[in-house]
Symmetry: C2
Subunit: 414 residues, 2 copies
């Protein structure tokens, strides 16, 4: 099917999805989970084709591992769809409203966004999560995955789509673009006649390309260059625990710490303890001049380090003269994702949370908590670092819009 | 000042604006209103230059009237700034939150968007309204008005900016792009490093150009092709009152009715009365075949009429076989702005409000109510017909984002 026909069908499906009951949507997702389980052999077989091609292309073992599916991983995908069944349906929620002086009864009601395009890279489990979230929020979805997972994605979408249709959802509710050329991707991003939003999920390169080319509105989940600032009034033991957790618990994720900022008044005391603990955890560190003067074996941190999201066991360290300097550093080099201050001082905590411009600002806690599951909103389609529509974890609510419904009794405007 | 320097200064100002008190923002807007009043002669003088150039260029009298400023209009602009002072400051509102099982106290707090770019056409009063709304919501703003109002806008921005700075707001909080070339506008739309959002305010052409060229996220206020559907169970007198109001009370605005849909079961009875009333109000009408068969002197309505936002005393009329056909017509030809059903049937009302995909859906009331003032949210920067971030009137809240603030006591992630 041509791209435009696909989008047109998605638009028609999205109109029908607006009034579909929660029960039908939930049954569709349960049926999809069952279909994945029942057909895990087919899925693994299709995935083998992707794996073989990837191996031939000399793909790194880390990427191969992200791509690989086996019975257990298919089971995890099925469970991820079922977990979305258990989330509260956001559609129909009355977000606000009032009775106006002229008697009009105004309410603002949560409705589906319509047609969502998801553009993502290798991991095939994103196919299942993204499709499930979009369907639960009453949308039609068109998926455009990476070429390396194309065989896997194809069978996954076929199974999910058939299960959804059997359960009573409209034809075209879950579709996929099999042609993974850039040319087709570019066309896809400009189908603003049919698509309501694009969600690119992947590295900075991908997001930059989508933002540049798209005429469809974009919600992006970009990089996280996150900081922990240890204030002069910090509880130092707590600061070390939190810093180690933020750096080491899972270094490859967007809410891991990349730069540690330390107030000059405690740097002499704190940095030797903190860096020795980091070293014991295998962290490679880069310090500014002041940090190097305290801990002599630190490599030199450059301007480039402050801009870098290492996504690995590496850390930049900088000694700052004041809370204001810490805030200025974060607002300059950070990506507005997750930022933390460790302090026992009330006023520093307030100044930091107000002054730092980020999706999530922490006092005395690890930045690693920024995710939909931890925040109690369930699965997410990514963590937004842009400020429109949704900031932070993008759960079901991010995949909705609102409309005003107004009940009158003949009112006309004067 | 170069465009990029201007944007950089706005970004710095926006960081300072994040923590500025309501009182200082309100004093700034009061001072701006006073400055406008005190300097009305200067404003009128600058406006004369615009008027003379526009007259020379053969501008229509309607557009000349929109451009013209006199003492009374300057007074109205001052009052519009003061009305925004009286609106509740949205910044700091706690939108949601909870205490998580691990003891983290999570709250979602309303914060400014940052730097807002407003691109608009001729009317100079937009300069004052847009600047006042952006400032009240804690943002920095860069205005790019139309070339025909450039002298007027320049003096207005100078007065507002100086008043704001005197009242304690940062340098660069309200700025204007004086070079109205398309080249500079194109560059402006791609300053995503500094700008958080662009708000184009004007015709479809403008919005299309911005959506195509911008890499900065866009909130648009586009056309309104609005419908009134008279159901078979309508109170016909009420239907005529509402239709006349929706079409005639102010035909040049985006929430005026452009097409009247009538159920076939009442068309024979309703259309002669309704069209005679429309005629008495000077409305030129175009009907489909069925409508022409009932009211013989209707011109023929074409497919093009159904897509047209007349913005004048013209009206397309179509007879539909069912409620579903009415909904399908609206979802196909409409722009998702404001739509109304007139009915006494409970189930038709529910089906219509659920099935119609629009910012505002009315039962038994005129579409003319869709505006920020009428909805009780105060002044607006436009009425959004897109679905991300805000749909419907864009008041102060539309010019904000949120951030998560999380208070902990040493929590680390397991």
């Amino acid at each position: 099917m041509g791209l435009e026909n696909m989008a047109r069908q998605a638009k028609v499906a999205s109109m029908q999805m607006m009034t579909i009951s929660t029960a039908i949507k939930d049954n569709a997702l349960k049926a999809a989970a069952k279909a994945l389980r029942d057909n895990y052999l087919k899925i693994v077989e299709a995935n083998k084709k992707d794996m073989e091609a990837a191996e031939k292309a000399g793909t790194s073992s880390a990427l191969l591992d992200r791509l690989m599916l086996n019975k257990q991983r298919v089971e995890e995908m099925a469970v991820s769809a079922e977990e979305i069944v258990s989330l509260k349906d956001p559609i129909g929620e009355v977000v606000g409203g009032s009775k106006l002086a002229n008697g009009l009864k105004l309410s603002r009601v949560r409705v589906p966004l319509g047609v969502i395009g998801v553009i993502y890279e290798a991991r095939p489990n994103v196919t299942v999560e993204a499709a499930s979230l979009c369907v639960k929020a009453g949308n039609a979805v068109i998926l455009r995955g990476g070429s390396s997972a194309n065989h896997s994605n194809k069978i996954l979408v076929e199974l999910i789509s058939n299960a959804c249709i059997s359960a009573g959802l409209p034809q075209g509710v879950v579709q996929m673009i099999e042609d993974t050329s850039h040319q087709t991707a570019d066309k896809f991003m400009q189908l603003d006649k049919y698509l309501d939003v694009l969600v690119p999920r992947g590295g900075n390169e991908l997001i930059k390309a989508v933002v540049e080319k798209a005429t469809v509105p974009v919600l992006w989940a970009a990089a996280g260059n996150c900081h922990t600032y240890v204030d002069k009034d910090a509880n130092q033991d707590m600061a070390i625990d939190i810093a180690i957790n933020a750096k080491c618990q899972r270094p490859g994720v967007c809410n891991a710490m990349e730069t540690l900022l330390v107030h000059k008044d405690i740097a002499n005391d704190f940095l030797p303890k903190a860096t020795s603990e980091m070293k014991a955890n295998g962290v490679k560190m880069y310090g500014d001049k002041k940090a190097q003067a305290i801990v002599s074996d630190l490599s030199k941190a450059t301007e480039k380090d402050y801009y870098t999201e290492y996504l690995s066991l590496e850390l930049a360290i900088r000694v700052v003269d004041s809370l204001d300097e810490a805030i200025a550093h974060i607002n300059k080099y950070g990506t507005g994702h997750s930022e933390a201050i460790i302090t026992d001082d009330y006023s520093s905590a307030q100044t930091f949370t107000e002054g730092v411009d980020a999706a999530a600002v922490y006092v005395n806690a690890s930045t690693r908590f920024t995710d939909g599951g931890q925040f109690g909103m369930g699965a997410e389609i990514g963590i937004s670092t842009q400020k429109l529509h949704v900031r932070g974890p993008m759960g079901l609510e991010a995949l909705t819009s609102t409309k005003y419904v107004i009940y009158g009794s003949g009112q006309t405007r004067q």
